[in-house]
Structures are given as structure tokens and as C-alpha cells.
């Protein structure tokens, strides 16, 4: 009698946990993305390609895609641009338009690529990084009203793919840690949403 009651309560508790965990995970990753984005914004520009960044905040987006799927990745990826732009005062400026276009391209591409079998988050992140740069250059060309800046795009994409792979492997280590933790919890009788 007492055991059935206990397990029924367990069931409610695990259901509550199951529904709140994606929210908590997404929120933590969004915070991480913003922190990494702001940190990187305060670093000096790269020597050879001052218009490129490593894109460390994409670590959080890749992790969100792996753990929470496309919707969590979209919230983290787009939400990060909005929040960081608010914090740096760039919101609704041309810079914001470029960043938002890049983020939208990146998240969409990573979601598509993540459905391709045989690719790990390293591959997703590389593709996302390339898409981010392409999106930004398209936005820049539209804003400038001339396609001239696109000349800079191919070398930038080549560099960005390598940066993306580095970011992807960093994300990879976070993903496997979290997944291990969730697997252990399931072993202890907890739940593992997605």
C-alpha cells in the first residue's frame, strides 16, 4: 500500500521534472550563450580577419540542438543575439540585422545538417559557422545596396569552417558530459527527457 503511494508520487515528481528540465536546460544554455557572446565581444579582433570571430557562443547553440532539438537551438541562437544586442546597445542597428540574419541562417543550417546521419556536432557546427558568415555577408550586401562585400565571403567561410569545427568539438565535450549525467540519473530511476 505504502509502496504504491510512493511510486505514484514518484511518477508525479518525475513528470514535473521531465517537463521543467527542457526549460531549465534552455535557460542555462541561453545564459551561457550570452555570457560567451559578451566575453568574446570584449576581446580584441583577430589579427588577419578582424571581421571574423570564433563564435564561442555557438557552443551553447550546438549543445541546445543536441539536447533539446531545433526549438531549443532556435531560442538559444536567436535569443542570444537579441539579449547581447540589448546589452551592447546595438539592437535594431544594421549590425544587429547582420547578426540576427547570421544566427537565423546558422540555426536553420545546423538543424538541417543534424538530420544527416554520420555527422557529429563538429560537422553541424562547421556548417552552422559557414552559414552564419554567408548570412551576414548577404545581409551586409543588402544593407550596403551593393554586392561588393561578398568578395570577402569565400576566404571568411573557409576560416569560419575551421573555427566552427573547434567550437563543435568544445560543444561535443559538454554534450557527452550532460548525456552521461542523464544516463546515470536514469539508472538511478530518474527520467531523461530527450
Amino acid at each position: 500500500m505504502s509502496t504504491t503511494l510512493a511510486s505514484a508520487e514518484d511518477g508525479r515528481a518525475t513528470r514535473a521534472l521531465a517537463s521543467s528540465r527542457p526549460v531549465a536546460t534552455g535557460a542555462v544554455l541561453l545564459a551561457l550563450a550570452c555570457a560567451l557572446g559578451l566575453l568574446e565581444a570584449s576581446l580584441p579582433p583577430l589579427p588577419v580577419t578582424p571581421w571574423l570571430r570564433f563564435g564561442f557562443s555557438n557552443i551553447a547553440v550546438v549543445v541546445a540542438l543536441a539536447l533539446g532539438g531545433a526549438s531549443m537551438a532556435a531560442v538559444v541562437g536567436i535569443g542570444r543575439v537579441v539579449l547581447v544586442s540589448l546589452a551592447t546597445g546595438a539592437i535594431f542597428t544594421p549590425v544587429f540585422a547582420m547578426a540576427a540574419t547570421g544566427a537565423a541562417f546558422s540555426v536553420t543550417t545546423m538543424w538541417v545538417v543534424s538530420r544527416v546521419p554520420g555527422l557529429s556536432p563538429v560537422g553541424w557546427s562547421s556548417a552552422g559557422s559557414a552559414a552564419h558568415v554567408i548570412g551576414q555577408f548577404l545581409a551586409a550586401a543588402l544593407l550596403l545596396g551593393s554586392p561588393g562585400v561578398v568578395v570577402l565571403a569565400p576566404p571568411s567561410v573557409a576560416v569560419a569552417v575551421v573555427f566552427g569545427a573547434i567550437v563543435g568539438s568544445l560543444a561535443q565535450s559538454i554534450i557527452s558530459r550532460v548525456q552521461n549525467e542523464w544516463t546515470r540519473e536514469r539508472g538511478r530511476g530518474g527520467t531523461t527527457p530527450r
Partner: protein
């Protein structure tokens, strides 16, 4: 899950594709390196990548334009104060040589790679 074989191929292919497209885009982009010659008889476009010399018919006379080493200058003009000749050779996108009495304006087209904003 470590980096897979698929990742290696995929990342390599992306870099290769970007590098392959580079020359195509670069040539298309620098095609904007032209000078736009506006005169009373109309507008014409001249490439700065090949040296050339030509005469533009102005309102009060002729304007001799010289294209050399990617720059454009006015060699000789039939105007009183020769401002256009003294302007010298220009090559930067947006730069212009104007011979106002003749109604001839030469502007460099193309997009300078100069930063207005930097994405941070």
C-alpha cells in the same frame, strides 16, 4: 560520440568549396572597378583594368581622359581653370574627377573594402 569520418569529409568539403568559389566571386566583385564617365552626350563605363586613353566631348570642348595602372586622370581639358587636370589620378571607389565647365564627371565605381561597422 567523437568526431566522425563523416565530419572530416564534410569539413574538408566545406573548406574546399569555399576556396573554389573564391576566384569566381573575386573576379565578379572586382568587375566593379570601373570608371563611370558622365558627360553632356551621355554616360559610359570604362574598365580600369586595361590602360586606355579617350576623348570625351564636353560642353565647351574636349576632355582627354587617361586610364593607367587602375587609375583615371584627365590629361588635358578645354576648360579655363584646369581643376580636373590638377585633381590628378584617382583610383579609390567613390573618388571623382570633374570638369564642371565641360559638364564631364568621372567617378570610380566599385565597393571599397572599408569598414563602416564591425560585427562584434
Amino acid at each position: 560520440m567523437p568526431m566522425t569520418r563523416g565530419d572530416h569529409i564534410f569539413v574538408g568539403a566545406l573548406v574546399a568549396a569555399a576556396l573554389l568559389v573564391w576566384p569566381l566571386v573575386a573576379s565578379a566583385g572586382s568587375a566593379g572597378d570601373t570608371a563611370l564617365v558622365t558627360g553632356p552626350e551621355g554616360v559610359s563605363s570604362v574598365s580600369l583594368r586595361a590602360d586606355s586613353a579617350f576623348v570625351v566631348q564636353g560642353r565647351i570642348g574636349e576632355v582627354d581622359v587617361l586610364v593607367e595602372n587602375g587609375t583615371v586622370s584627365v590629361e588635358e581639358a578645354s576648360c579655363p581653370d584646369q581643376v580636373c587636370v590638377h585633381t590628378g589620378a584617382v583610383s579609390a571607389p567613390g573618388a571623382a574627377v570633374a570638369c564642371v565647365p565641360n559638364g564631364v564627371i568621372i567617378t570610380i565605381e566599385g565597393d571599397g573594402i572599408e569598414y563602416d561597422a564591425r560585427i562584434r
